[in-house]
């Protein structure tokens, strides 16, 4: 480890970290917003569920590098535009979360949904005030997977020259110099853990009503 190099590169590494966070978190939020209505649709219709979940699964198998390269053709963006990364990772997040949202809504006890309806909640009121809040633990579990997956997928974008922590890997390989590689790995892991922890906290804050057991 060359700490002197790290010291000199500090500003650059913080810049890369900032981009990494932006490129990982933006798609997470966008993906959730898109997955919510799609997941609700899959939950509502037994015929749509296998279709949507199947397509989502297929999307997830498209290699990320291929998607990064192909998206500019679809979106009309430049190959170096960070928007490509945001769009690609949004696709992956949606692919992961459609099933999660559908399963979260399915997890709400039938008695509870029935009671909401019988009390006179309209469909959207029941969704917003009962079903989604009760499905939060399942959604948060899915968000944790998507967050960690995004943090790791973003680094692939280094091959396209888009700045983020992955750039430290390419730099290290080119120079046969291990310090940036190790720094990149450590920061990726720490970032993933922090995002994971934040989602756990968010879940706890949103669900004071769950039985107090050790969060896994």
């Amino acid at each position: 480890m060359n700490f002197e190099w790290l010291g000199r590169q500090f500003d650059n590494i913080v810049f890369l970290l900032g981009w990494h966070v932006l490129l990982a978190v933006t798609p997470l939020i966008l993906g959730l917003l898109i997955a919510l209505p799609l997941g609700w649709w899959a939950h509502r219709s037994r015929r749509i569920y296998p279709l949507l979940v199947g397509v989502a699964g297929l999307l997830y198998t498209v290699p990320s590098l291929a998607l990064f390269v192909l998206l500019p053709l679809v979106l009309g963006t430049k190959i170096l535009d960070p928007l490509n990364i945001v769009a690609a990772l949004t696709v992956y997040t949606v692919a992961l979360l459609v099933r999660v949202v559908a399963d979260a809504l399915d997890s709400v006890p039938e008695d509870t949904v029935q009671a909401a309806k019988a009390m006179g909640y309209r469909g959207y009121q029941s969704l917003v005030k009962v079903e989604l809040p009760v499905g939060v633990p399942v959604i948060c579990a899915g968000l944790r997977v998507a967050a960690v997956s995004n943090v790791s997928l973003v680094s692939v974008a280094a091959l396209l020259g888009i700045p983020q922590l992955g750039s430290l890997f390419t730099q290290g390989f080119q120079l046969r110099f291990y310090t940036p590689i190790i720094a990149g790995i450590v920061l990726c892991v720490v970032l993933a853990m922090i995002l994971d922890g934040l989602i756990i906290l968010l879940n706890r804050w949103l669900t004071p009503w769950t039985p107090k057991v050790v969060a896994s």
Binding site: P109, D111, T112, Q114, A115, A116, K117, A118, M119, G120, Y121, R122, Q125, V130, P133, V134, T207, P208, W209, T210, P211
Partner: protein, 368 residues
């Protein structure tokens, strides 16, 4: 009043859940739908608040057909209690109870104040207000379910097997408390159960339904026991009908109550022997409340608590023939203890006295 007029529910696959049902649940009364599984009782209940839409026929709420109403607004006029309470797991108990008033536009503050009153009314301590449903037992959750249904003070209530998911002891308590509550609030209630004993115990009138969704008989509990319409009803109502029907026959002073000599706790064996009639003597406390029976022959010194036989069940003088007869049969001396409304001894009756009274008046006035 809730009225079914020729209501049928048929599914596309041809199954008929409810077949031409005509039924009237009078205002302020508790009407029970009872029958074996597959008789369409729950389907009938759910058609009232349109959780299920009837295929044909009309259901009226106070003479207004429900079919033209906005379903959500209709449901907000009707309290609803289901088997496993169906509480909202993410809301505190007080917010669960406040659900309907808040939906109807009341302020949260006001709704909570009212919810706390209701919780007390159904026997839940105020300390439960901030708890979540998982922290309560099944019986407590069911009380919350009842409080939630009553919160908007609806004129109508629908109850779907409300007491069947709890153990028999708790069920008995909930039933008693519910009867007491209904006597105060007098809602128009339709309740579904598969338990004929529950139906006979709680119902002002009972509708027995048969498989295929047809009404077999609609009658008061005592009428069901004494004159079932057909073999199916007789069979469904079950055994011991004669004995059980006595549960609806008031004693109304027709049974001769005999004097009973008593001793108090701490009386000497000699006194007990002198007062005893046959092998047994009745022991009371200072306020003439019966404690149990003692056998003077077995006494060793004075009458102590551990000498008492507690098998007898005292009957209230204002009770039913069944309670009186049971008091006599359960007593070791075969003399049933009769008490007044304060639990103080009036006298004793024998099974012979009770049976004589029953035979003397074959058409005794029924309890309800």
């Amino acid at each position: 009043m809730i009225k079914f007029e020729n209501v049928t529910k048929a599914y596309p696959d041809g199954t008929v859940a409810v077949d031409g049902l005509n039924l009237e649940a009078p205002t302020g009364k508790l009407t029970i739908l009872v029958g074996p599984s597959g008789c369409g009782k729950t389907t009938s209940l759910r058609m009232i608040n349109r959780l299920i839409e009837p295929t044909s026929g009309t259901i009226y709420l106070d003479d207004q057909p429900t079919s033209g109403m906005d379903a959500a607004l209709l449901r907000r006029r009707i309290g609803y209690v289901i088997q496993h309470a169906g509480l909202f797991p993410h809301k505190t108990i007080v917010d669960n109870v406040s659900t309907m008033p808040v939906l109807l536009g009341e302020s949260r503050q006001k709704a909570r104040t009212k919810a706390l009153e209701l919780m007390e009314r159904v026997g839940l301590p105020a300390s439960f207000a901030k708890r979540y449903p998982w922290q309560l037992s099944g019986g407590q959750q069911q009380r919350v379910g009842v409080a939630r249904a009553l919160a908007s003070d609806p004129a109508f209530m629908l109850m779907d097997e409300p007491f069947s998911a709890v153990d028999p002891v708790v069920r008995g308590q909930l039933q008693e408390e519910f009867l007491r509550l209904q006597r105060e609030i007098g809602k128009t209630i339709i309740m579904v159960t598969h338990d004929i004993d529950e139906a006979l115990k709680l119902g002002d009138q009972v509708a027995v339904m048969r498989v295929g969704g047809k009404l077999a008989q609609m009658a008061s509990p005592s009428e069901l026991l004494t004159s079932p319409a057909d073999e199916f009803v007789a069979d469904f109502v079950g055994r011991d009908r004669g004995y059980r029907s006595l549960g609806f026959t008031k004693t109304a002073g027709t049974v001769a109550i005999g004097e009973e000599a008593v001793v108090q706790l701490g009386a000497s064996a000699d006194e007990a022997r002198a007062k005893a009639s046959g092998a047994w003597v009745l022991v009371v406390d200072g306020g003439r409340k019966p404690l149990g029976w003692a056998q003077p022959e077995l006494l060793n010194g004075e009458v102590k608590r551990e000498n008492l036989n507690l098998s007898g069940i005292p009957a209230a003088a204002s009770g039913t023939m069944r309670q009186l007869l049971d008091a006599a049969l359960s007593s070791p001396s075969r003399r049933g203890v009769v008490v007044n409304e304060h639990g103080e001894l009036i006298g004793t009756v024998t099974a012979t006295d009770v049976v004589k009274a029953i035979e003397a008046e074959p058409h005794l006035e029924t309890a309800r």
